[in-house]
Structure formats: structure tokens, C-alpha cells
Symmetry: C2
Subunit: 227 residues, 2 copies
DNA sequence: GTCTATATCTCGATAGAC
DNA sequence: GTCTATCGAGATATAGAC
């Protein structure tokens, strides 16, 4: 971390308020979208005055942009490349699922914001996600690469890696988006949320590994996807 | 359908305008949420005047409520009990996935509205979904019941039916929520959308059936997967 | 039933005191 | 840096002509 020569106390105060605002804005934006969010809601949640929002971030649009940057940086930081070391595909898959679910569970507002953005058209989200994917050790890319490798080594059967990725990510994320209904439907999910989430990791990992077991014989339909 | 004694022409005209408004409102609400939507956007999309919205549905809140009822009725109507006749679980699963994906693809706004509602707290959505689930031939309930039966008959292995349901629904729906990014990531999904969707059905059905094979049977004797 | 014109109010943004 | 007070744009909602 680089150190500024600005007096420490002032800097910390600014950082604190700024971060408090960003966190509050993230919560509100992620639930109501950019247009639906109210500046006074954000101010209230941050425990400050409405005018202070405009002092730190001139406009609502500006604040939204900064929140988006803030979210992306959270995504980048949280998804460390702990996948690199996985000795085999099964370990990679289980680690990926566990990490992914923990991240979503611990950063619900981040995921909600991404989804909200997509529902509103996704112009802001898509380019950012694409550029995150470019990076060689991006977890999504790593997952696809390792899936291909494992298949060509015969560790798992050949499957469309993108379809598989979509299935894994969907199965990790969607549950949290519709949690109110799942909670109403499945008592355990509401009463013992943490336990249910651990069971979900287990269930998903098992289910996917079983579905990826190599066949003795028959070949499955596998469309060509490579560039 | 009960028939009114109101003159047919008038009734039809009202129904048409009302339905046009509801469809337009559904589109806008589903992308921007209740607070983010603008009445004039809805009017423009419906091709009518802003004042007419207030003639048919007194307030914005009132309109939103009616849109929600409208969506629920769509859900109920579209999910006919075509699952009832499935002779075995594999047929049921494949039919369920195919129907579900077709419905989502053909009613994106409906699904978006449900998700938007959930992101905003879900107070409106959850009770409605719960009461839909009560019905004996509700597809989600039917799925859980048939999954249990099939497991106790030994047709598939024992799995947590709710975890499985969550996985299936997630895998059918989430793709469409983040379509902008998937389209950017996977060229085929954008250029040959319909084909990609058919492949998705196939991929998902195969994957799930494989993961549900009873433990005793080895992978050397796989049931045929292609129609 | 449908429109134009207008009233009313809410929200984003600014000015200015402390 | 933080607040109170307020302005002005834009939104919902209504009045009234056709």
C-alpha cells in the first residue's frame, strides 16, 4: 500500500466516510437499480447527510460508476488464484464451488448489483466481466482451461466446457437471488442457513463429479467450440 | 371463460388496451424495478398517452400490483400439467427442463420481474409462489414428488430433492438473466441463440441424468440419451 | 376512451452557515 | 467536512376538452 503525505487523520476520515457511502450505495443500488435508488436512502443507510453524498461524489451517476468500480475491485481481490494449486480436476471443482458460494454468500450486494445491471441491459457489466476473463489466472477462464485439460487426459468425460461453466455458476448463484422463496419453501434453508449452504456445496460437487465420470464406451454429443 | 353482457366491441377494446398496457408495464418494471420505472416509458411502449395509464390503473402502485397478478396468471396458465403423463423419471426430467427453458425464453420479462421482486425483498413474490406450490399438480411440487418416488423405486439414486430442484431451476433460468455476458463470452450463444438453447437443454438433461444414476450400475451400461 | 394542459409533489443537486 | 435550507427539473397524478 502506497502512503500519502496527507495528514493521516484526515485521510482516514475521508476513507471511512467514502467507504461507508460506497457500502451503503452498493446495498441500495443492488436492490433497486440505479434509477430506483434514492439518494436520501443511501445517505440514511450511511448515517450521513444527503448533501455529503454530493460533496464526495458529485452526481448520482458518478456515485453509481464508483460503486461499480468498487465492486469490480472486490471481485478481483476476492477471487485469488487459489485454484492454481489444485492437483486434479475434482479438487479444483470442489474448491471452485466452495469459494464461489462463500463469496456470493459474503457479498450478496455485489452479486445483486451485477444481476440488476444485467436486467437493465448489462452495458456496464459485460465489458468489465469480459476484461476480467482475459486475465490468464481469472478463475472462470482457469476453470474452462482445466476442464478441457482434464477431459483430454481422460480424467473426466468430454463435455462442452461453457455449458458446464454456466451450469456451475448458475447453481452457485441463483439460490441466493431467490433466497426469500427458497427459505419459505425449505424450512432448513431458513432455520439453519449455514448448514444448508454447506450441504449445497456438497450436493453440487457430488452431482457434478458424478455427471463428469468418463464413460466406458459411448460418445456423447459434443459440439465443436474451439476457435 | 365467463361471458359478460357488456357489448363485445367495447369489451374487446378495453381488454386490448388494458393488455397492451400490462405487457408494456411488465417489460419496463421487469428491467427497472417498481421505483425505477417511469410511467411515460410505459405509455410510450404501449403506444398510448400517459394519462390513459391513470384512467385504467389509478396509480403506479396499482398498476404494479395488476402486473404482478397478470404475471402469476401467465405462470399458472403456461405450466400446464404436461408432466403428469411422463412414464418414467427420465422422461419427466427432460420434459420439465425443455418446458421450463422454453417458458423462460418466451417470457423473459416474467422471469425478470420475479427476480427484480426478489432482489427488492420478495415480499410480493414469495407468498404467491408458495400458494402456487400448494396445488397438487404444481410442476415444482410434482417434480419433487416424482423424484422421491423414482428414488424409492431404485430408478435413480437417493438425493436431496430440494437441492436437486434448486440446481435444475437455477440451471434453466440463470443463463437468461446474464445473457448479455454469456453472449459476449460464447459467440455461439449470440450468433445461433436458438441452437445454443437447444444444446443447453440436451446438456442439462444428460448431465442430470448421469448424476442421478444409481450407484450399483456401472457406466458401462448407459441408457441411450438421444431421441 | 383518449387526448392536452396543468397542478402537485418528489428527488437530485446547490448555496451557504458552521 | 458536515449540516440546514432551498431551488429547479422531472415525475406522478388530475382536470377538462373532444
Amino acid at each position: 500500500m502506497p502512503e500519502s503525505d496527507t495528514p493521516q487523520k484526515t485521510l482516514d476520515a475521508e476513507r471511512d466516510t467514502e467507504e461507508k457511502i460506497l457500502e451503503a450505495a452498493l446495498q441500495i443500488f443492488s436492490m433497486k437499480g440505479k434509477d430506483g435508488a434514492r439518494m436520501h436512502e443511501i445517505a440514511d443507510l450511511a448515517g450521513i447527510n444527503k448533501a455529503l453524498l454530493h460533496y464526495y461524489f458529485r452526481t448520482k451517476d458518478g456515485l453509481y460508476d464508483k460503486v461499480f468500480e468498487y465492486v469490480i475491485s472486490k471481485l478481483v481481490r476476492s477471487f485469488g488464484s487459489s485454484l492454481q494449486d489444485a492437483p486434479d480436476f475434482e479438487t479444483l471443482l470442489r474448491t471452485f464451488i466452495s469459494n464461489y458460494i462463500d463469496f456470493v454468500n459474503g457479498n450478496l450486494a455485489v452479486v445483486r448489483l451485477m444481476v440488476t445491471e444485467h436486467l437493465a441491459g448489462g452495458e456496464r457489466a459485460t465489458p468489465r466481466i469480459m476484461s476480467m476473463m482475459q486475465s490468464a489466472n481469472a478463475p472462470l477462464r482457469l476453470f474452462v482451461d482445466r476442464l478441457r485439460e482434464a477431459a483430454s487426459r481422460g480424467e473426466i468425460r468430454h463435455v462442452d466446457p461453457y455449458q458446464t461453466l454456466i451450469t456451475v455458476v448458475s447453481s452457485c448463484v441463483f439460490f441466493f437471488l431467490v433466497y426469500p422463496t427458497v427459505g419459505a419453501l425449505v424450512p432448513l434453508a431458513r432455520e439453519q442457513r449455514d448448514q444448508f449452504i454447506e450441504e449445497r456445496k456438497q450436493h453440487l460437487s457430488d452431482m457434478l463429479m458424478r455427471s463428469l465420470q468418463p464413460d466406458g464406451e459411448s460418445s456423447t454429443h459434443m459440439p465443436p467450440v474451439d476457435p
